[in-house]
Point group: C2
Chain length 268, copies 2
């Protein structure tokens, strides 16, 4: 089920710059009972990312209506893509781009992900993220690094891979943001050079701030992760994952993952 510029079709122009250059941004988000979850945050992030690429962003109500039209009261996952639309051949952005607005929806059993924390096994990826401050943090359509990293393993028991940049700083999971508790302090990687600053991460940082809890955005090395008291991953679709196993290291259940999960759903 999909809408392209509000029209129920399942294809888009072969000349779209989203295909040609990955010239666009996207969001993946949960839908509950037909309503997009954490919509204000998702729209704010979409708009922020669009501005960063100098893309006009459609109004929030237009996008929300389209998600609700496709979801028709169901639970599921919606994906929004904004591209710079079609244009003549060449990288030069058209001066007055007609953005393409694509909304897709996949129904998903409500109980497949709940509000509880899942324990997962994780690995280190070999791929090192390149650093590009002009694109860092943005959820844009240039995601080949994620594809290559995710292709590093087939074992279904491994739910996620951890990525470092080429300076050996830990950045994120392939599909998730990272939080650790190290010497009692909640930390998440600095994303000024690469990675995606996701909505779940920003909700957790905001919740910590609102509660007067110290949450550091820091340069984190692999060794610090291996020796952390607790390691957690988050994204808007899965919520909080507690890392139970990372290579040969195991963590027993702790308290922060439940706390962060609570924050994720409680924060405004």
């Amino acid at each position: 089920m999909s809408l392209v510029d509000g029209v129920p079709v399942d294809c888009l122009s072969v000349r779209d710059r989203g295909l040609a250059y990955g010239d666009g941004v996207f969001r993946t988000l949960r839908v509950r009972g037909g309503q997009p979850l954490w919509w204000q945050d998702h729209y704010a992030k979409l708009e922020h990312d669009a501005v960063a690429l100098n893309l006009p962003c459609p109004q929030a109500t237009v996008l929300q209506d389209e998600i609700e039209r496709l979801a028709a009261g169901q639970d599921g996952v919606a994906k929004l893509i904004l591209t710079r639309g079609c244009g003549p051949r060449g990288y030069a952005p058209p001066p007055q781009p007609q953005v393409t607005r694509l909304v897709t929806f996949d129904p998903w059993p409500a109980d497949s992900v709940g509000q509880c924390v899942a324990d997962i096994s994780v690995r280190w990826c070999d791929l090192r993220l390149g650093r590009q401050p002009r694109l860092a943090g943005i959820k844009h359509l240039n995601r080949l690094e994620n594809v290559l990293a995710r292709a590093e393993w087939q074992d279904p028991a491994i739910r996620e891979g951890l990525l470092c940049d080429d300076t050996n700083a830990v950045i994120s999971g392939v599909t998730s943001n990272l939080f650790i508790v190290s010497e009692g302090v909640l930390q998440t990687p600095d994303l000024s050079q690469c990675g995606v600053a996701g909505v779940a991460r920003s909700r957790i940082l905001r919740a910590a701030r609102e509660r007067g809890i110290d949450a550091e955005v820091a340069r984190i090395l692999p060794d610090t992760v291996m020796h952390a008291d607790e390691v957690m991953l988050c994204n808007s679709v899965q919520g909080i994952w507690r890392v139970a196993t990372l290579e040969d290291k195991n963590w027993s259940p702790g308290g922060w993952s439940e706390t962060l999960n609570g924050w994720l759903y409680e924060v405004d």
Copy 2:
């Protein structure tokens, strides 16, 4: 005019991984009298790039036939895109991908680009290319850096921008590869960290080798370019550009650009 998997349509699935992640590779090439120019080189490069991303590559004859079908004897520019096709949600590549094969063709006046060298004005871009050795050299669909760099200027008198990486090495133009003549030696940037190793560049390197002429693949700094005897840019659509002006520096016509242009069209 376009063919998607051989079918004359002008749209492709909203679920295509080419759109979702830029998960694919492409070629842009000249067509003369309905025939793709330098086809063996273009196909070899397409296949090389597909292998680098673990994408099955269609047979050369299939693609060549489709270009010829669209071109119908005309001059113009063809673009080939291969993507990893559709798949379920998520970065994990499908184990048996059904690649999407997209061919488009735009007629172009035969005399708009000939076999003669054009003199152009060039600028330095502010954007610094990120380094990612796993993707370096490949003409993949993640081209936001090129889009951002090309958006840095609107002046139609400036035909191309030069790009450095974040170590200050000169890499290429936004849409072209670079050659300089410095202290009498032909040089082109090393592309092991970023950039696209284009077909025109490889034809020139091969021609030099066949003629016993020293052509160095080197780390080149901006200062070396500014003090070069001659600066040239090349790509498969435009052929050779001689840089006449770069910021406040001017070069008077020299001999190498005509030589390189000759090689481009003479080499097998």
